[in-house]
Symmetry: none
Subunit: 138 residues, 2 copies
């Protein structure tokens, strides 16, 4: 958000500079004046689009962004969350173990801990709960 303000401010300064240049050198020429105005319009149009996209990204897409606060609240560790995502993809413990280069028993431990933390009885239920809490993507 600070970046946005910075960029915004810079562009205003830049445009004022262009205006000043225009004022002292080309003030009476229609063509350059229209060019300046067109440039300003385009630049601010782009700025508006970008900012809107970024802010609306955190609003509309927030329904698909992970809720880190909830993860912390439930005491789910990084590794556990990683495993949880793999479980949500429909992978078996063995497949997850291979993908993460650990043993199957390690995955079993993680899954077991996840079930407790998510208050679930099965991995399918854990996925369902995790999606409801928005702690896993989509």
């Amino acid at each position: 958000m600070k970046k946005t303000i910075f960029i915004f401010t810079s562009l205003i300064i830049a445009l004022l500079a262009i205006f000043q240049i225009n004022k002292y050198h080309l003030i009476s020429q229609d063509v350059s004046m229209q060019f300046v105005i067109a440039t300003i319009a385009v630049v601010f149009f782009i700025i508006g689009s970008v900012i809107s996209k970024k802010t609306s990204h955190s609003i509309t897409v927030s329904s698909q962004e992970i809720n880190q606060a909830k993860i912390d609240e439930l005491g789910i560790s990084n590794r556990e969350h990683e495993v949880l995502c793999k479980v949500a993809e429909g992978l078996s413990n063995k497949e997850i173990a291979h993908q993460l280069y650990v043993s199957e028993s390690t995955i079993k431990t993680h899954v077991s801990n996840l079930l407790v933390k998510l208050n679930a009885k099965r991995r399918t239920q854990a996925v369902q709960i995790a999606k409801k809490l928005k702690i896993i993507p989509l």
Copy 2:
């Protein structure tokens, strides 16, 4: 989208009009010139924001209906679909059996058939695939 183009065009014309007025009446006054430029900037910033918001809205919102055609294509029966939804809720075979007033072996049969039809190895994967194909809610 046609509305957007219309609004966009109208505003360009409006701004050019303002420019013309400015040209013939206030061309030498800095204050009004800056005002015009500021107005242009703000207007186009708003236009950019609105357009961006509308387009991104139409992208993010459109997605939440079940695909009956796909269900038929895969040859999934009513009962199977019913079971599939229960599986997606994270229920066990036994729990589903109780809810549907049938035996657990019946559910096992349905699930087994579903796995074949959805080309899945596990129930978790079946849920994942089903959601991707939009044949189960959310």
